[in-house]
């Protein structure tokens, strides 16, 4: 009996030492992602502007403030808060599923109703397809205007001088705007007045 008790005691003693050396469970540390919202920045060269101005839409400022508040609270749900232009991934997925279902149900209804078999139905369906294709083409070609350098904010926008230094700085005014949809950077682009008039 005494031997059994000693054995159990030994087991407890050693197991305590063994478990004491087990590395603590790795709890994933929440990555402190800076509060941000995805948006677009447009840069406009303005001949009339006297100073550089950065216009921030009030709606996006509110979104950023909400993001900051939820970040401060630690309640930011990263899966849902990953958003493009204020639309989260969940919203995009569910919305896409529903719109797809809408097309499927409309198609089934249209086929079942027999409207497609009549001449008028074929004409209407043809018109819808042509209209949709035209609208799509308009969107595609309508956006094909500016050159690639003007469609994304990359180093190609800047002159060799800026590239040589790798940095450019200057005074800027931060403003809140009710009119703008996206942030806009207005850059003064006045004519060089030092140039001779006869040039």
């Amino acid at each position: 009996m005494l031997r059994k008790l000693s054995l159990v005691l030994m087991l407890f003693t050693f197991s305590a030492q063994v478990f004491a050396n087990v590395a603590p469970a790795k709890t994933p540390k929440p990555a402190k992602k800076p509060a941000s919202i995805d948006t677009q920045l447009s840069i406009r060269l303005d001949r009339d502007a006297k100073e550089a101005r950065l216009l921030i839409p009030r709606s996006q400022l509110k979104a950023l403030r909400a993001e900051l508040e939820s970040f401060d609270d630690g309640s930011a749900d990263t899966a849902a808060s990953v958003s493009i232009a204020g639309i989260s991934r969940i919203q995009t997925i569910v919305s896409g599923v529903f719109i797809s279902l809408a097309f499927v149900f409309a198609g089934v209804w249209f086929t079942r109703s027999g409207k497609f078999s009549s001449t008028a139905g074929k004409v209407v369906a043809g018109c819808v397809v042509v209209f949709a294709a035209g609208a799509f083409a308009t969107i595609v070609y309508g956006n094909a205007g500016p050159p690639p350098e003007a469609r994304s904010i990359t180093g190609k926008m800047f002159t060799q001088g800026v590239h040589d230094y790798g940095v450019g700085s200057g005074k800027i005014k931060l403003e809140i705007s009710d009119e703008e949809t996206y942030p806009k950077l207005i850059v003064p682009n006045q004519k060089d007045e030092t140039k001779p008039a006869d040039e």
Partner: protein
């Protein structure tokens, strides 16, 4: 032999109705355009409770005692109203819950919107089946709307605020078709005049600055009309538009529908199946009616004591009457 006929203008009740409607809209547009905040407060104080009472009375008169072939339709309708109202109130009053982040709350809101849209789509489908027609296109429309409600939930919620008054106008149109078809053409002219009044109202108030947000009440009124969703549009214009449409909707429920349908007169209980029929439930009906009158009076006292809080509570519970309108409207199609 030639017969000469002279067309003589004869003043009918439809003409009187048209002139009265247009004149009332003109007076309302001028008053609301001049004092949108004040009229918002006054109209809700005066008409919010009574118009709910009139709606309840109207729906009670239309509710059959025996559902027969409509059993499934009414079961889905009443079940939907109860479940959606309870879930809406849960979402509304739990929105400050520390367990729910902003994103969670938005997702729950979108789920509620989806359930509501699909419920209305189902009602259309069931009504189509009753009429032996294929109205399954309602599902396609419902899914499309659900998609939009997920992608732009804030616009969806606001659109409900602005579309609600038009539901009353649609009810009136269906009722006129049934009981006063000779007024239908005049009513269509009335409906056509509403966009003109709105354009005139927008033209008149477009240059006005934003309304004051110095008190919580003023801010809530502006927010309800969409001032936070459309920050670039003057809140003066938004509130004026909302109050104008809401006023027409009160006008329809309180005055025009009882005028068109004698069964909707509050004191004429002999036409209410639940009350007058031998198999009816008169005691339950009277209890509901007395309770509704009590709530209406209590709302007036509440508004007088604390307008802002009562307004918030009223608009939360008002979702019940908004939802109850759909089954009866779809049933009239």
């Amino acid at each position: 032999m030639q017969e000469i006929r002279t067309g003589r203008f004869e003043l009918t009740s439809a003409h009187v109705f048209l002139v009265a409607f247009v004149a009332a809209c003109a007076v309302a547009a001028v008053l609301i355009g001049s004092f949108p905040l004040q009229l918002s407060i006054v109209t809700i104080f005066l008409f919010a409770g009574p118009h709910n009472l009139m709606e309840f009375r109207y729906f009670a008169a239309r509710m059959p005692l025996r559902w027969g072939r409509s059993r499934l339709y009414y079961s889905v309708a009443i079940g939907g109203v109860v479940v959606l109202t309870v879930s809406y109130l849960t979402l509304y009053f739990a929105s400050g819950n520390w367990l729910w982040s902003l994103q969670s709350w938005q997702v729950f809101g979108s789920v509620w919107n989806t359930a509501f849209i699909l419920w209305v789509g189902l009602l259309f489908y069931l009504r189509g089946k009753q009429r032996r027609r294929d109205w399954s296109i309602a599902f396609a429309a419902a899914f499309l709307l659900a998609g939009l409600a997920w992608i732009v939930p804030q616009y969806w919620s606001l659109s409900l605020v602005y579309l609600h008054p038009f539901i009353a106008m649609w009810f009136l149109e269906r009722q006129i078709r049934r009981t006063r078809p000779d007024w239908l053409r005049a009513y269509h002219y009335c409906l056509a005049s509403i966009p003109l009044f709105l354009i005139a109202l927008w033209f008149a108030v477009s240059g006005q600055p934003d309304l004051s947000e110095e008190t919580n009440l003023f801010w809530r009124i502006g927010q309800h009309a969409g001032s936070e969703i459309f920050p670039s549009i003057s809140s003066y214009l938004l509130v004026a538009t909302h109050v104008f449409l809401e006023s027409i909707h009160y006008f329809v429920w309180l005055l025009l529908i009882p005028l068109i349908d004698k069964r909707a007169l509050p004191w004429k209980l002999s036409d209410v199946p639940m009350f007058a029929n031998a198999n009816g439930i008169p005691k339950v009906f009277v209890a509901f009616l007395v309770f509704s009158v009590f709530v209406t009076v209590a709302l007036w006292f509440g508004f007088a004591a604390d307008y802002t809080t009562t307004r918030d509570i009223y608009f939360a519970f008002a979702i019940g009457h908004v939802l109850a309108e759909f089954p009866f409207l779809v049933k009239m199609l």
